[in-house]
């Protein structure tokens, strides 16, 4: 039974002259305690997906159709009041910039106590004790002193740890982390990733990690979804995707990494750029950049097919599989579930 399941989600930005579609028919699910990564470049719609899961889409963006079910409960139709029970308490969010969440004029401790007391009846001293405990839990040195400090007195890595501590206070069932380590240095990033992985394992919390960095994904996620231009193009176990990418975009992305070429050699670049929202190509969105593109790709949108343990949306793979098995072994277009 999946904890969070997203079905045929379409997100549209309503403009005066035209509607710009940001997400196309996105479907996936996360089970309890699972760590899922959503990978894509800027403009792939991965952050929009994250925001639409917690109903934080900014103004012109709306969920056009599709459903988001959390623990069997439909989220897209909730009122603002009902969201307050869910957001933070059941589904927590960690942003790239910790200062989005932290209030600069309140001390770290006050914010933590406030967070606890807004959801449970508990007196100040007990809440403080709990907060300091959590600060120690995320391996912040001298938590009692940090409790009194203000966010600007902490470094970036420390702030992100505080955020994780605050998030854990409310015992969420799922954490959505949007590029949580992008602003941090590599040595700090390693620590935060390990902490995130550990708290998720310890508390049985599911994690959706939104990132552009395959390196980060390989450290933390069990399953990976690759997005391109508002669509999921490939999903499967992380190791499988990194070692044996199926979709031409995933292949290109991984091949473009410097460590995939011999030192001093040219890198295997993907030509061109991610299409803009108002300039979405017909058919498979990747076809202008794809080395295997055919007329079919230009006209039709590929559905998902199973390729090994991954599901891929690509006609080239589909054709290859069909050829491989003369009886048409791929079992039709397979929806995610």
């Amino acid at each position: 039974m999946s904890l969070l399941s997203v079905n045929h989600l379409n997100v549209v930005f309503r403009q005066r002259h035209q509607d710009l579609q940001a997400l196309f028919d996105v479907s996936f699910s996360v089970s309890r305690g699972e760590r899922l990564a959503i990978v894509g470049e800027s403009g792939a719609g991965k952050s929009i997906l994250g925001y639409s899961l917690v109903n934080l889409l900014s103004k012109p963006g709306v969920i056009d159709s599709g459903s988001v079910k959390f623990d069997g409960r439909e989220l897209t139709t909730l009122t603002a009041r009902q969201w307050q029970e869910i957001r933070g308490k059941k589904i927590a969010m960690i942003f790239q910039d910790p200062m989005i969440t932290l209030n600069p004029v309140l001390s770290v401790g006050d914010q933590m106590v406030e967070a606890i007391r807004s959801h449970t009846r508990i007196n100040y001293n007990d809440a403080k004790k709990l907060a300091i405990e959590k600060l120690a839990h995320v391996r912040i040195s001298s938590p009692a002193q940090r409790f009194e400090q203000y966010p600007h007195e902490l470094s970036g890595g420390m702030r992100q740890r505080v955020i994780i501590a605050i998030v854990l206070l409310l015992r969420p069932e799922i954490i959505i982390a949007d590029e949580p380590t992008t602003a941090l240095d590599v040595t700090i990033q390693a620590g935060i990733l390990q902490l995130l992985k550990q708290v998720c394992e310890d508390n049985g919390v599911a994690l959706i990690l939104i990132t552009h960095d395959f390196g980060v994904v390989s450290r933390i996620a069990e399953r990976t979804i690759v997005m391109y231009a508002g669509r999921i193009v490939e999903q499967g176990p992380t190791l499988e995707i990194i070692n044996d990418p199926q979709h031409p975009y995933t292949q290109g992305l991984l091949n473009a990494l410097p460590q995939m070429a011999l030192p001093g050699q040219r890198l295997n670049q993907i030509q061109g750029n991610m299409p803009a929202l108002n300039n979405h190509p017909s058919g498979c969105a990747f076809h202008p950049r794809c080395p295997y593109a055919t007329d079919k790709c230009r006209e039709n949108t590929p559905g998902f097919v199973f390729s090994g343990v991954s599901t891929v949306a690509c006609f080239a793979i589909e054709d290859m599989l069909a050829e491989f098995d003369p009886e048409g072994g791929w079992q039709g277009e397979v929806e995610d579930e």
Binding site: E41, S42, S141, S155, G157, M158, D185, V186, T187, I188, Q189, A190, G191, L193, Q194, H212, D213, F214, G215, V216, S218, R219, L239, I242, G252, L253, L254, A256, L257, P258, Q259, M260, A261, P263, G264, R266, L267, N268, Q269, I270, Q271, N273, M274
Partner: protein, 342 residues
């Protein structure tokens, strides 16, 4: 033996931090006659950096936020005056030049910036941006020559000719970085200092820009100083690597020896923390603490607060660069003494 292209000797740079209630400077000087408080309102960005860059090589400067790598680039390009130390370009000293005397060196060294969205003037067309550089350094070009040259430049960095009448905001990040490179190349420099040119770009675009830079190096025999925090790029691109921490260089080595046998504890921790796709088994070495702010001029080794091998000597004595057997240079007491890695 000929001079190295760039020779940096004992470079130091301290910034004055601004206090919120700033008294007029004459008044502060009046107050400061008796007690000199100068040491307390400074940030020490570079504390004695010595480095030399040979013609045709790619030196990558690696380090985390606040280690002074960008300051190094700015001082090198003459955007900041160093507090002390010397800078030589092919044997001639360039750190104390006036704007006028610097002109011939501007033609020889150029810079590519980190943020492609801020490094091009949003109110100038690409033609105007390139024309300004060419007008200053090729004043003898006729209009026709300039036009042809600009077209040639744009094509050589993989842009179409019709780009010249457009404004920077009409281009994507990768294309803007190409324009930046075209601007740097327009004066036919020998050295290009690139300050994190890839960090604002997507992975697939990073590869495009990096390829362009490598092509240009081959074609024009450029020397690069490439400042980055991304070790994967370093491993691919560098011929030599300098690792910086808090205003000092802790290790300089050729790429092969740095990645196969890192010596400085900081380098080791740094290398272990890059997530690698080809080898998922590497466990990162966790450093305790965070990079401190360089408000005080450090007494001993800058890394001692986070170093797992530090002892009393590290807190008291500044380690000096020592040449190792494989040709790399390391500034570390632990390496010198051969302290065992826990």
């Amino acid at each position: 033996m000929s001079n190295p292209l760039i020779d940096i000797r004992g470079l130091e740079k301290a910034y004055r931090t601004r206090s919120e209630w700033r008294l007029p400077s004459w008044f502060r000087r009046l107050l400061r006659r008796k007690s000199d408080t100068a040491n307390h309102d400074r940030i020490y960005a570079l504390n004695g950096v010595s480095l030399s860059i040979e013609q045709g090589e790619t030196l990558c400067v690696v380090g985390e936020t606040g280690c002074g790598k960008s300051t190094l680039a700015r001082v090198l390009m003459g955007l900041e005056k160093p507090s002390s130390g010397e800078l030589y370009f092919s044997g001639s000293r360039i750190d104390q030049l006036t704007d006028q005397a610097r002109m011939p060196f501007r033609k020889k060294m150029q810079m590519v910036f980190q943020n492609p969205y801020a490094s091009l003037n949003p109110r100038m067309t690409i033609y105007q941006i390139l024309n300004e550089a060419i007008g200053l350094h090729h004043p003898d070009f006729s209009r026709q020559q300039t036009d042809d040259y600009i077209e040639e430049l744009l094509v050589s960095v993989g842009l179409s000719v019709d780009a010249e009448d457009r404004y920077p905001h009409e281009f994507s990040g990768g294309q803007r970085q190409r324009i930046s490179i075209a601007r740097a190349l327009s004066v036919e420099p020998e050295l290009i200092v690139a300050d994190e040119p890839l960090s604002a770009l997507d992975v697939s675009v990073q590869a495009q820009v990096l390829n362009l830079m490598m092509d240009k190096q081959q074609a024009l025999g450029l020397t690069y100083i490439f400042i980055t925090h991304d070790l994967a790029v370093v491993e691919h691109f560098a011929t030599r690597v300098a690792v910086m921490y808090l205003g000092r260089i802790c290790e300089v080595a050729s790429r092969e020896s740095l990645f196969s046998a890192p010596k400085h504890p900081y380098t080791k921790a740094l290398l272990s923390s890059i997530p690698r796709l080809d080898d998922l088994s590497v466990e990162p070495i966790h450093l305790t603490g965070e990079v401190p702010t360089p408000l005080e001029k450090p007494m001993g080794c800058t890394f001692c607060g986070r170093c797992p091998l530090a002892n009393q000597r590290c807190y008291e004595q500044i380690p000096v660069m020592q040449l190792q057997q494989d040709g790399s240079a390391v500034a570390c007491h632990a390496v010198e003494e051969g302290r065992p890695w826990k």
